[in-house]
C-alpha cells in the first residue's frame, strides 16, 4: 500500500492539575489553540479533528465532545469532520493513530489530535469508580476489584516471581517526581524521597498513595501534517515513524501472565517493526505509569530491559534523566498528572519537545528517536508510537 508519511508540526498542552477554574471545554480549547499557534496554521488549514476522551459522559455529563471542542475552538465555520475516540487511558493514543492514518491514506493533509479529561468535577470516590469502568465491569469491578487493587495484584505477583522490591516500586515515583520538578506544566513539581513513598498510607498493598498517579484535569494537542507539506510550517518536523496498537483480555484474571502485558509486548513489536527500529535506538520514552508497577512492567514489555529486571534497572538509575534511557521525562502520569483522555497525546507532546531539543532543564541529550506507550484499563489496550526527527 502506498502510504504517506506523517509529521507533527505543532504541540500544545495545558497546565495539569486540579484546575477548578477551568471547564472541559476551556481545557480542550486552550491545548488546541496552543498547538495551532505553534504550527502557525489557521482554522481553514484544518481538515479534521480527532479527540481522545475517556469518559466525559460520566465525569461531566457531556457526550458529543469532539464537535463541542471544534465549536468552542472557533472551528465551527469549517464544519469539520470530528471524531471522539474512546479506549480507556489509551484513547488519545488511539486518536493519534486514527488521525495519522487519515493523513497517511491521503484523505486529509492537516489534522488536529487532542486529548482531554476533566476529572475533578466529581468527588474522589466517584472518580475512582469511573476509572474502574475501564476494567471488566461484569467480571472484575462488580465483585469489588478496584483499579488500584488489580494493579496491586500484578505488583504482588511481580515481586513474587521476579524479586521486585517495595523500594524498587518506590524508586519509580521518586524518579518521576524529580523529572516533574523540571516540568512547569506538571501537577506535582516537588521532589519526593523514597521514605515519603514507603511511608505513605496504603491504597492497595503493596501500593501506597505515592505509587498512584493523581486524578487530574488537563488537555494536550498535536497538529499532524503530511510529511511532504510539513516543511512549509516548521523547520523541525517530528515524524511519526511507527505505531503498534494491540488489545488483550480485558479482565486481568483471563491473562496468560499478569506480570507482563501482552498488549504492550505486541504493540511494541509492531511499532518497532513498522519503524524499522529496535529498543536500543530509543533514548527517551514516555510510558504509562498510572501505578509504579505499571512503569516497571512497561519497560520490560517494551524490551528496554529484560523481563523481571524493570525494578532493578529503575533502582540502579538506568531510567533516570540522561541515563541509559530517559523514561518519563515529563514526570509521567505520576507527577505530570493523569487526566486520562489527555495521556497519549500529552506523552507525544513531551517526546516532540525532547526530539526538537526543547526539553529545557529536563532535555535528554542526543535524543533522535522517542517512544510513547499508553495503556487502556489494566492493559486491555496498549498503543506504542515511535517518533523521529524529520530534519
Amino acid at each position: 500500500m502506498n502510504v504517506r508519511r506523517v509529521s507533527i508540526i505543532g504541540v500544545g498542552e495545558t497546565q495539569f492539575g486540579e484546575l477548578w477554574e477551568k471547564s472541559f471545554r476551556d481545557l480542550g480549547i486552550e491545548a488546541g489553540l496552543r498547538a495551532m499557534q505553534e504550527a502557525k496554521i489557521a482554522a481553514e488549514n484544518v481538515d479534521a479533528l480527532y479527540l481522545g476522551n475517556m469518559s466525559a459522559g460520566k465525569f461531566i455529563d457531556q457526550e458529543h465532545v469532539a464537535a463541542l471542542v471544534a465549536d468552542y475552538s472557533g472551528l465551527v465555520d469549517q464544519h469539520l469532520p470530528t471524531v471522539r475516540v474512546e479506549g480507556g487511558g489509551a484513547c488519545s493514543a488511539i486518536a493519534l493513530h486514527q488521525a495519522a492514518m487519515s493523513i497517511a491514506s491521503g484523505v486529509h493533509d492537516i489534522v488536529i489530535v487532542g486529548g482531554a479529561e476533566k476529572m475533578t468535577d466529581v468527588g474522589d470516590v466517584e472518580a475512582n469508580a469511573i476509572l474502574s469502568s475501564t476494567t471488566d465491569q461484569e467480571w472484575e469491578s462488580v465483585f469489588g476489584a478496584t483499579f488500584a487493587g488489580l494493579y496491586a495484584m500484578m505488583a504482588r505477583r511481580h515481586m513474587f516471581e521476579h524479586g521486585t522490591t517495595r523500594e524498587q516500586l518506590a524508586a519509580v515515583a521518586v524518579k518521576n517526581h524529580r523529572n516533574g520538578s523540571m516540568n512547569p506544566n506538571a501537577q506535582f513539581q516537588k521532589e519526593i524521597t523514597l521514605e515519603t513513598v514507603l511511608q505513605a498510607p496504603r491504597v492497595a498493598e503493596p501500593l501506597g498513595v505515592f505509587d498512584c498517579a493523581p486524578l487530574s484535569d488537563g488537555a494536550a494537542a498535536l497538529v499532524l501534517c503530511s510529511a511532504e507539506k510539513a516543511r512549509k510550517f516548521t523547520d523541525t518536523p517530528i515524524n511519526l515513524i511507527g505505531t503498534g496498537h494491540a488489545t488483550d483480555f480485558l479482565a486481568v484474571h483471563d491473562r496468560r501472565d499478569i506480570t507482563t502485558m501482552d498488549a504492550s509486548v505486541i504493540a511494541g513489536k509492531r511499532a518497532f517493526h513498522a519503524a524499522g527500529k529496535t529498543p536500543n535506538d530509543v533514548k527517551v520514552a514516555e510510558v504509562h505509569d498510572n501505578f509504579t508497577i505499571t512503569e516497571i512492567m512497561a519497560i520490560e514489555d517494551l524490551r528496554f530491559v529484560p523481563k523481571g529486571k524493570g525494578g532493578y534497572a529503575t533502582e540502579d538509575g538506568e531510567t533516570a534523566l540522561n541515563a541509559r534511557i530517559s523514561v518519563n521525562t515529563s514526570g509521567g502520569l505520576k507527577a505530570r498528572g493523569y487526566p486520562v483522555g489527555a495521556t497519549g497525546v500529552a506523552q507525544a507532546v513531551e517526546i516532540v519537545r525532547q526530539l526538537r531539543g526543547e526539553g529545557g532543564r529536563r532535555q535528554v541529550s542526543g535524543a533522535e528517536v522517542g517512544l510513547t506507550h499508553t495503556l487502556g484499563g489494566t492493559g486491555g489496550t496498549a498503543v506504542v508510537h515511535l517518533f523521529e526527527r524529520g530534519d
Binding site: E18, W20, E21, T120, G123, D124, P201
Partner: protein
C-alpha cells in the same frame, strides 16, 4: 464612635473522642488522619445538648463575666448555626427567654455555614451604632454533622460562643470589619439531609484560602496594618492545618496564632470556631493588645475583624463562668459506640 465587645462567654461540651477511636471503626489509621488534620480530639455534645442549650450556656457565661450589664439592655439576639434544632422556629427566642432579655427585643437565627456567628457580630455592630438598641448579642454555635466514615467525622465537633456588642463598657473595640463573599459550592446540606456534602480538596484552595486570604488582605488595607502590629491572630479553623497555613502565608507566626487555635484540642466547632478562639484570646489579652480575626463560612465568605483590647477588660470578671482553657482541658473521652449513641447515629425503636 466605635462599636465593640462588651462581654463574651463560651461553652464547649465535656465529651471528647479521638481520631484514633473513630478510625478504628472504619478501618482507617485514625491516628495518622488526626495528625494530617492536626486534631488530637474533638468535642462531642452530650445526649441532652444541642445548639440551643449550648447557646444558652455561652450567653449566661457572657453575662456572668459582666454582672453590670442588664439582659434587659440586650435589644437583639442573633444565633448563628448550621445545626439549629428546628428548621422553622428560632433558637434565638429560647436563648432570649433563658437569659431574660425578652420580650422587648428582636431575635433571629442566622445561617452561613461556619461564619453565621461573625455575621451576627457585624449585624449587631451596625444596629448598635445606629442606636436601634443599646446592646446586641451575637451567638455562634454548632453541633456539627459529619457522615459516619466521612472525612468530616474526624473534625466536626460542638461548641458555642456569645458576644455582647455595644458602644459603651467596651472590653475590646472593633476598629474595622470587612467581608469577602462569593457564591461557592464547596460545602452544603440540603433541607432534610442529615449530613452535609463537600467538594473534598475543593474546600481548600478556591474556597477557604481564597476567601480568608482575600478578606485578610482587605482588612490590612482598611486598617493600615501589617502582621507585626498584632499580638494575636485567629482564623476559622476547620482543621489544625488550614489556619496555620493561612496565617503563615499572611506573615503571622506560631506565637500569634497559638492561643486561638483550639481546633487541635476540640475539633471544628463550625459557627463557634473562630468565636471560641477569640474567647480564648480575650481570656488572656491585656489592654492595648491587638487581635486580627478572619472567619470563614462555606458557600462562601469571610468576615474580618481588627480588634483592640481596651482598659475595660480589667473591669469584667474574666474567670466567671469558667475560662476557655478550663473548658478545653476538661475532657471525658468516649468510645465510638457511646459517641454514636450520643449523636443519635443509632436508630431507636419508634425514634
Amino acid at each position: 464612635m466605635k462599636a465593640g465587645i462588651v462581654t463574651y462567654g463560651a461553652y464547649v461540651p465535656r465529651y471528647r473522642i479521638t481520631p484514633k477511636e473513630i478510625g478504628a471503626v472504619w478501618g482507617v489509621d485514625g491516628e495518622a488522619m488526626g495528625k494530617g488534620l492536626n486534631i488530637r480530639a474533638k468535642s462531642v455534645p452530650g445526649p441532652d445538648e444541642d445548639v440551643i442549650t449550648m447557646s444558652v450556656e455561652a450567653a449566661r457565661n457572657a453575662l456572668k463575666k459582666a454582672p453590670g450589664i442588664s439582659p434587659k439592655d440586650v435589644g437583639a439576639i442573633y444565633v448563628g448555626s448550621e445545626s439549629h434544632p428546628y428548621a422553622v422556629k428560632p433558637s434565638a427566642t429560647i436563648v432570649a427567654e433563658a437569659i431574660e432579655a425578652s420580650p422587648v427585643m428582636t431575635a433571629a437565627d442566622y445561617e452561613f455555614a461556619c461564619k453565621a456567628g461573625t455575621a451576627a457580630i457585624q449585624t449587631t455592630m451596625g444596629l448598635t451604632l445606629s442606636d436601634m438598641y443599646k446592646y446586641g448579642m451575637a451567638v455562634g454555635a454548632d453541633t456539627s454533622q459529619g457522615a459516619p466514615g466521612d472525612a468530616l467525622e474526624y473534625s466536626a465537633s460542638a461548641g458555642a460562643a456569645a458576644f455582647v456588642i455595644g458602644k459603651d463598657h467596651l472590653i475590646a473595640s472593633i476598629n474595622h470589619t470587612i467581608s469577602y463573599t462569593t457564591d461557592m459550592p464547596d460545602f452544603w446540606r440540603r433541607e432534610g439531609q442529615a449530613y452535609p456534602s463537600h467538594g473534598g480538596r475543593f474546600t481548600g484552595e478556591p474556597a477557604y484560602f481564597k476567601h480568608v486570604l482575600s478578606c485578610a488582605g482587605l482588612l490590612f488595607k482598611r486598617a493600615g496594618t501589617s502582621p507585626e502590629d498584632y499580638d494575636y491572630a485567629v482564623f476559622h479553623q476547620p482543621n489544625g492545618k488550614f489556619p496555620l497555613r493561612a496565617g503563615k502565608t499572611l506573615g503571622f507566626n506560631d506565637k500569634q496564632m497559638d492561643t486561638g487555635m483550639l481546633v487541635r484540642e476540640i475539633g471544628n466547632t463550625y459557627s463557634g470556631a473562630i468565636m471560641v478562639g477569640l474567647c480564648a484570646i480575650l481570656d488572656l489579652a491585656k489592654p492595648g493588645q491587638r487581635i486580627f480575626a478572619v472567619g470563614y463560612g462555606s458557600g462562601a465568605g469571610s468576615d474580618g475583624f481588627d480588634i483592640t483590647v481596651t482598659e475595660g477588660i480589667e473591669a469584667i470578671d474574666r474567670k466567671a463562668g469558667r475560662t476557655m482553657r478550663e473548658m478545653v482541658e476538661e475532657g471525658k473521652f468516649l468510645d465510638y459506640a457511646t459517641y454514636a449513641k450520643f449523636r443519635g447515629k443509632i436508630r431507636m425503636r419508634g425514634g
